[in-house]
Subunit: 355 residues, 2 copies
DNA sequence: CTGAAAGCGCTAACAT
DNA sequence: ATGTTAGCGCTTTCAG
């Protein structure tokens, strides 16, 4: 790209192209080490020279060359986010919301964020990230019930944090929503309102959270000395369309369910649509509850009637993930650690009492 | 993070932690340079040793340390995407679609993508990126009519590509949608169908594309010896809500428009809703056309009736941007260059003939 | 309190 | 065809 310099705009530092430590040092009549120390507020540098150095650096628009600094300190001050490219392409995804949370923290803590999408071969991407040392650690997402990436990453010696949990022996750090408690609360609420024929519209069964939620669903029943109806849990994808289809199927069955507990607001929206299609009014003829992770443009309060839901902003996960990972790579905490985010159960108008 | 090694999973390279050029060289009885050359397919390296080196590297899981390599070659092989954090938070945004396109190309070309969100001070972020040399170039988005970043970046000597165009003297490279032609075609189509009372639901006036589209709107009229009605162009945000409000206002006016041309499918969706609210049937009582940039979950074909629209997938912009930027930083092309993406006009059921 | 010197891991010019 | 050497720009012992 051309480099036509322009007057004004930047105070006066037009020539801060060659702004490196050496030239700064020469200009100040100091050694590189002194300048370097002064800039990083090293003690044993008198206030006076520190100010002088800072002023000169400021004027020169100096900032340490990140690559050189990385090489010297052995850290990249960069973390990676590894995800399947398709998560950017699906219409219903909470990916960007997680990303927003991550971005916020990464920026706050003066780190950089490397985006590492992959098409199929995640293992290759992780291996590359690890061996090329481009990042100090990575955030990985969408854990399988038993996720092989944990062993791989431990083996690679690459620090990481998982968004979610998985059933493996190897140690790992994670941030997760409280799926168990959340689904148990939701189901319990419906039971306490007198519902018995409840259908759980759950996530796909190869994801660990879906298994956890299914178990929680049953636990809510047994905690009350009840038993869940057979085939009450549907393992389907997190979309409005499948919410709709699943609900339609059940609403057409001989024993019509009186309530649905959904894994996401997307699915709940589908259930609402199915209810309408069947001439049922949500909150009067049919109860619907869900977990609301605060995805942009699809929140519990967007529905009519407003949806009763447990809620944890998904961006909080992003913030937790990034914060934990940086703490880990900086050695401020020692892994493995886990964090389960709390949630609120917010009662709105989508539930009704039965009997 | 802990480093519990695990058997299996990775063939046998459990100790490829110390896999660097030096150890590889020693192990092979060669010099670092030879190994380095062999690995990068340098000529003047006999096939035989090349194979031997490659095999050893493969077995050791070796990959050059990206930071060291960057420092040596003077390039980071990384590009940055600078954007306002809020673009991740708004429900109606084409950001992720652009991102998907960028990701694809960056990965293909073996580059890394650094995400640089900012809250308010974009100038600071750009300055930091430039002086810390963390990236070879940046993609910037959402140009203002006269965008000060162009001068800044040229001054900083940071290679960049703009998504969109702007009215400045300084040279810059860009990839843009063909706003002018697209809006002129859309407006022309309506005029040719006999419409005269047409309202343009345009973007906010501080964005350059909105100005371009407004001009194109008028050009379509004058090209036919006609004149656009006064106050026919509305400069509003790209949301469904404003599409709705704007349309409602106009549909309640004394002279009711017979057609709307919209800047995005979001806005068109709002217009559809307004039409319904006024008891009008789109495609019979009211015509609606728009530019469709293929944003996930909001496409022309999602509406009923399907929306007549010009279309350029927004992810193509992302691909164009990344490809151009990498070509630029690698010196494969010389800036400034610009690329205007072609579009198709797809006739669907949202238009009707008047008189 | 400050400076000289080594080195992070790689590439590239300069030998040979 | 391969090795030697000198950096890339920074941080960091180790001296003074």
């Amino acid at each position: 790209m051309s480099t036509t310099p322009t007057k004004g705009l930047l105070p006066d530092k037009r020539l801060h192209k060659g702004a490196d430590l050496k030239s700064l040092a020469i200009q100040l009549g100091l050694s590189q080490s002194t300048v370097s120390r002064a800039l990083r507020g090293h003690h044993a540098i008198p206030e006076s020279t520190r100010r002088r150095v800072e002023a000169a650096a400021e004027a020169a628009g100096y900032r340490p060359n990140a690559r050189a600094r990385s090489l010297a300190i052995g850290r990249a001050e960069t973390i990676g986010l590894v995800f399947p490219l398709e998560r950017l392409q699906l219409p219903e995804t909470n990916f960007v919301d997680v990303l927003a949370g991550i971005s916020t923290v990464v920026t706050q803590r003066n780190y950089s964020l490397l985006l590492s999408p992959f098409r199929d071969d995640e293992v290759a991407v992780l291996g590359k990230l690890a061996s090329s040392k481009s990042v100090d650690g990575v955030i990985i997402t969408r854990p399988l019930v038993v996720d092989p990436r944990i062993a791989l990453l431990n083996q690679l010696g690459l620090t990481f944090v998982l968004h979610g949990r998985t059933e493996v022996q190897e140690p790992y750090s994670f941030v997760d929503t409280d799926n168990d408690a959340s689904f148990e609360r939701l189901t319990g609420l419906l039971l306490d309102y007198g519902h018995r024929d409840i259908v759980a519209v759950n996530g796909l069964s190869h994801f660990r959270y879906a298994a956890a939620r299914a178990a929680a669903f049953h636990r809510a029943f047994s905690a009350r000395g009840l038993e869940a109806p057979t085939e009450a849990v549907e393992f389907v994808s997190m979309t409005e369309a499948t919410g709709f289809e699943t609900a339609m199927r059940h609403l057409a069955a001989p024993v019509r369910p009186t309530a649905f507990v959904c894994g996401s607001v997307f699915q709940a929206r589908g259930v609402y649509r199915a209810a309408a299609a069947c001439g049922l009014t949500v909150g009067r003829d049919l109860s619907v509850v869900a977990h609301d992770d605060g995805v942009r443009g699809c929140q519990a309060t967007d529905l009519t009637p407003a949806l009763t839901a447990t809620t944890t902003p998904i961006s909080a996960s992003g913030e937790g993930l990034a914060g934990m990972l940086i703490d880990l790579v900086e050695g401020r905490i020692k892994g493995p650690v886990g964090r389960i985010l709390p949630f609120d159960l917010i009662l709105r108008d989508s539930v009704h009492v039965v009997r």
